[in-house]
Assembly symmetry: D2
Homo-oligomer: 304 residues x 4
């Protein structure tokens, strides 16, 4: 039985000096729990995993697993140049209590190499592997056929975080080819969340900084109220669209989480973009326009 | 004084046998005039210019210029592997009555080569050059500094169609560096149209298949009614976002234009994606959800 | 029966003002005939075809065909953004008397799109199509399986100019899969010419500026004297290797052809690299080291 | 005072089961010492560093440093997705006794980001940093100007392993801009070793599997006997050229080292290319043609 729901991609909070801020991280977990998300996704691209030392990875994982206290599952990202490195990271995550790893492909455009990579990694683990299909960041393209074959033939490959554009047709194709051998999570900032659910996704893993909106859409949909799910989606899509701007999305999210009082600093490690004042004001005004607030602490009510 | 407004990127209508459909093209021009757009942009990426023979290019240009009858300006896209080819295409367009050309950069990532390319092309023409800044399709990246330098130092370089993500900060940077030496048009399916206007764009060149929405936003904004512009934008953004999906946008647009009775066939030349039935239904339902219709002919009313 | 031998890729000679230099071009053809090459390859990447207007393409083709006077075949390069443009160029070349066209793939990494592209182009012509397999310049990768399928199933696809590295294993694989359905020409500056012949190539299409060396190797090999072919190859490989440096090879070749009195100017259209004095001296000394001369006019003797 | 000479890039020997083969590694070090190389470069691309777990990296470094016993310096490669990971790897290498690290750039094409990356890494170390400039594998391009600035302004940046094609002009430009602030090592399989020395390189870091040839060229050159250096180079360049074929070079080298009795297995971790029989025979015959042998153990004599 596959995990379902909203598993937000969490940023990694730093202090203003660029050190990992464990206190903010714990506060962030508490907030997500309060929102009612169904799991936690850490150490993804938005989590600046590529900018952390391995020692820091370990600390982030241990902190999140500890703070979540087994109430919801924690999934962790894995990215390496080859299988040995990926296994090393994934086993470490497994030992620290993570319940699945989402694994970026290596940069070799060859189906049999990619199959072997995922098989080798999955076979070395006791927890499920989530294929991270995001060619825009990882370059490698995974065809629906390859994905379905891996889902069927590699026992440990059980999920995909699907982010190749255009995503909707690919989602339906994979669902058709792999049936229920695979759990499919959307990403892409939530821009296609509604249609993904309608096409049979299990939920979403994305970093949108008002996760209550994602949970609102998800719950309405699961309760069979598609019209309400659509109404919520349409209400907030001006913000979802804005926040999903490539290359600058992390800055939006850290800004919002900081302003909402959840993390202490919006610090981003190099290389990263920072928000100039005009953009901060633009974002703040847009948040207000959709009826939310960057200044109000705590979980906010979602409307349709 | 720079041109302003909505200059839709037009698809090139084909018959079901893949021949240029002049009748549909003339009907499309009539429709755009009825909508009240401020100019016409032909032979862009969405116009499948790269799939046309030069003889076909000429025919498209001549037909559009003839049908527009001087009521609004026609701009044409130019893309070649080098300056000599670009000049040849651009001069031909100029001779046929086009009032500006939007020119893709050559694929060489070197500022002085790019400057020389645009200078050589612009100097060979009597009509203005629009830089087409779209790295996702053309690979080449143009920095704000290079763009501003070209705008100031090359007399013929007068506009930019700006589509490098994230687009908003780049727009403001170019506006700051180049002041009014350049007219800036947005693209990207209109996803950031509202913010682009607020940051000083001249208008938009994009292929959204309900151009009445773009005109509605633009007119409200130019009349100083920003709240109404935002309200229209927010109302239709669920559709704008959906239609802008990478690699499949042209299929959406030809489907809509055909269903609206404006072009006879949704035929796309190879390589191109086609809409399966589920996607057609999804799109049709979404159009209805925002209060528009693919079944109703003629210009449709826009609401906020 | 496939064409065999040395079909040098010719540079396009310009005047010092960047105009096509027809006189030099005719002198170059005369020189190649005197050398005893087996065909002429024009308008390739090294021929700066991407920097020519179509009007200039026509003039180059007409001049070469006229000067060759039917004594050896002329093949011309074709590169466009889509099939319609490629057909337009190829038909024009055919009408001007060219005996085959070597056609670059379009930039879409999809086997069925590529098959359709080559089938469409080949079916529109009466002369054979040579697949130009050069991913380093054209990005697109063509698998041995796709190449063999095209060779067998598309009547007009009869040759390949093979330049994907590492080239030797690919050559043997294609030869095995396609048997004699395809004529294979090497390129890559001649760096693997000897091994290519040993593995069953038909000859070479490359721009090395002492084509007498290529003819020497080829003739020795065809006469069954492999040891002599190897000895010639080894004797000149220090120069072959040097001349084949990426991005600067054209400058080497125009420099040598000019110094040898064959073309009047080493002018290269932008973008292009030029040789500083040190590099000119280095090249000149190396030519001397292998027993050739840039200062001596006429065909030079080749030794082993 | 910069290190000079031949610092071969060593492969990482595996057993036939793909485990690190410490015995072969020690034998390889002994062989290189016997050859008379001037240093050892481990954990580069050819050393399959990207396919090792960190635990394996440590073991390779410790073994090599131990076996070298301080007689010649050991340099180790570092490659990570960000500065924190690079520092972690580099410090570990430093602590294990390595005397310099050659560091791949992160994949961000932005001069100030790259400067900051190298400055951050260098400032965290007590040993010198070697910039690894190899865009073909790492994508990122480093301009001569940026390289010279880093050499002058970052104390720890003291060397470059230069492999951007065409390499010779770039080498001279860097030498001119950075004067003696930087030690320059060639790579690229030794294809331009002679000219690199003539243009002021400090030596070479490459994996050519007859390092005695590289040492022969180097010693002749340093003794002022350029003619002899050239004669040795020309004698072996047919093999140097062949071995340097992209993507398959490692297979050539492991094959030769195994046949020479230096390592026990030619095993390559996935993804990697293996030599078919025909290619093995081709290589073996070529080695013989230049007067060397894959069957003879021990250092072989070099002739001119």
């Amino acid at each position: 039985m596959h995990v379902q729901g909203v598993l937000p991609i969490l940023p990694t909070p730093f202090t203003d000096q660029g050190k990992i801020d464990e206190k903010s991280l714990r506060r962030l977990i508490d907030f997500e729990l309060e929102v009612g998300v169904h799991g936690l996704s850490i150490l993804g691209f938005m989590g600046e995993a590529h900018k952390l030392a391995l020692e820091e990875r370990r600390r982030v994982i241990a902190t999140v697993v500890d703070q979540a206290g087994g109430r919801i599952p924690t999934w962790a990202g894995v990215r390496a140049f080859g299988a040995a490195g990926a296994i090393e990271q994934a086993r470490e995550a497994q030992d620290l209590g993570v319940e699945a790893v989402f694994v970026a492909p290596i940069g070799v455009q060859n189906d049999s190499v990619l199959f072997e990579f995922y098989a080798t990694v999955a076979d070395a683990l006791d927890i499920p592997v989530v294929i991270h299909d995001f060619p825009e960041s990882f370059i490698t393209t995974l065809s629906p056929e390859l994905i379905a074959t891996m889902a069927k033939e590699i026992a440990g490959v059980q999920y995909i975080k699907l982010e190749e554009q255009p995503v909707l047709v690919k989602l339906s194709t994979i669902r058709e080819l792999a049936a229920d051998h695979i759990g499919i999570f959307g990403g892409l900032g939530g821009e296609y969340f509604l249609e993904e659910l309608q096409r049979g996704s299990n939920g979403i893993m994305t970093g949108f900084a008002f996760p209550e909106v994602l949970v609102g859409i998800y719950e309405a949909f699961r309760q069979g109220n598609e019209a309400r799910a659509a109404a919520i989606f349409d209400h907030y899509v001006p913000l979802i669209r804005y926040e999903f701007q490539p290359k600058i999305g992390l800055a939006f999210r850290k800004f919002i989480y900081q302003r909402r009082g959840i993390i202490d600093s919006a610090y981003i490690r190099s290389p990263g973009r920072h928000l100039d004042e005009r953009t901060q004001d633009e974002l703040t005004a847009l948040v207000r326009r959709v009826g939310l607030s960057v200044d109000q602490h705590g979980v906010q009510a979602v409307s349709a």
